[in-house]
């Protein structure tokens, strides 16, 4: 009677021990390509196992690999456990399957939060062209405010005059900075009479 409990217990312990080391003694990489990962906070798991805190990359895009290796024929299932604070969401594609060889086909796409960029315009009498890098906006005569294309959180921005209006000179104040967690609406464009 006792013996059989012991035996069951031993079997259970054995099974637990085996499952605990199951993922670690492999020789295959588990990873893929990620984008939108510009700061720390992304945590991935495989089969609900230990946390993999993904390091951000310059530009937010590049390859990633779990620190633990897996073995041939292992089933894997990658999920997002936590996201960086500056993203709307992170999606996993091709996140589960069975390993035949190194797995490099998992795609993690994080969509960055974006916020408005603009502000008041005063005394503009003919059209003015402003830019934020490649984003070019023509502000019509008489406009009292302007808006650029929305900018990802934590991204730099800079609004500058590309083409002055005829007969006027406009200046931009508060034109450059880093996008925070809310809209920027204090970029002021002031034009001479």
């Amino acid at each position: 009677m006792k013996n059989s409990y012991l035996r069951a217990g031993a079997a259970l312990a054995c099974a637990l021990a085996l499952s605990a080391c199951g993922g670690d003694d492999g020789e295959l990489l588990l990873g893929g390509y990620m984008s939108g990962v510009t700061k720390t906070g992304l945590v991935l798991t495989n089969n609900g196992g230990s946390d993999y805190a993904v390091q951000p990359l310059n530009g937010g895009a590049g390859s990633f690999n779990f620190p633990e290796l897996i073995s041939t024929d292992d089933r894997y299932s990658v999920e997002v456990k936590a996201m960086p604070s500056n993203v709307e969401r992170c999606d996993v594609e091709f996140g589960s399957g069975r390993a035949g060889y190194h797995v490099s086909s998992i795609i993690v796409t994080c969509i960055l939060k974006r916020h408005a960029l603009g502000g008041p315009v005063s005394n503009l009498k003919s059209p003015l062209v402003v830019v934020n890098g490649s984003d070019r906006v023509e502000i019509p005569a008489g406009a009292t405010s302007f808006k650029m294309t929305e900018v990802p959180e934590d991204s730099p921005f800079g609004v500058s005059v590309l083409t002055q209006p005829a007969g006027q000179t406009c200046t931009v104040s508060n034109g450059a900075g880093l996008m925070g967690t809310s809209d920027v609406s204090n970029i002021a464009i002031t034009c001479t009479p």
Binding site: V131, G133, S134, D135, F157, G158
Partner: protein, 211 residues
């Protein structure tokens, strides 16, 4: 007697078979494919003595299909090249040629389908810095390419002290701005805003003065 009839019949059958595979009315292979990324006019493709001008797609930068007018025979070699590039797109094909089947023998594949790509030429966005006596200056080209942190000028810094922003494509606007001022200094940018032309920009000037 019987034998002599069989022999010509065989020869005839053989000739018929041969003409079926290599014959002159078997011009069955159309050299065709797609080019992506064309933004400017001027592209001309060429192969087997044919020239084929390509237009700009309705959505510039989208994909255009092409098909050379004369079909090729089985076994003809083709090698599709740009005879002229679209304006401001001298990188056409160079990347795609390494992966595309632009050069082959007609009939080796059931269908000839060539994929080529064009990119708009990009030019440098560089400049000089003066008066940067402390670390902490951060520059950016709008929201396009992240930030560039620039260290202070030291005795070993080559003069003039230059910086290199990521390249900008022809026709695209840029503006170099100060995102973070170094402690105790105010840096301003001259010649920092423009639209990239067909030459490197090297005259962006950042000048830092003590507050």
């Amino acid at each position: 007697m019987k034998q002599s009839l069989i022999r010509p019949a065989l020869v005839l059958a053989l000739a018929a078979t041969l003409s079926a595979c290599g014959g002159s009315d078997d011009d069955n292979y159309t050299v065709k494919g797609t080019v992506s990324g064309i933004v400017y006019p001027g592209a001309v493709l060429t192969t087997n003595g044919m020239d084929l001008p390509l237009g700009v797609p309705a959505t510039p930068g989208g994909t255009v299909s092409f098909e050379f007018p004369n079909k090729l025979k089985y076994g003809d070699e083709y090698d599709v090249q740009f005879k002229s590039y679209p304006a401001n797109q001298s990188q056409c094909g160079s990347l795609a040629n390494t992966i595309a089947n632009n050069k082959d023998t007609a009939g080796r594949l059931a269908d000839i389908n060539i994929t080529l790509a064009c990119d708009v030429d990009a030019y440098a966005l560089n400049g000089t810095i003066t008066g940067l006596t402390v670390d902490g200056l951060v520059l950016a080209n709008g929201s396009n390419t992240g930030t560039l942190t620039i260290g202070k000028e030291t005795t070993t810094t080559p003069k003039p002290y230059t910086f290199t922003m990521p390249v900008v494509q022809f026709g695209v606007s840029y503006n170099v701005v100060v995102v973070t001022q170094p402690a105790g200094l105010t840096c301003s940018v001259a010649n920092g805003t423009g639209v990239m032309g067909a030459a490197n920009v090297t005259n962006v000037a950042v000048t830092c003065v003590p507050n």
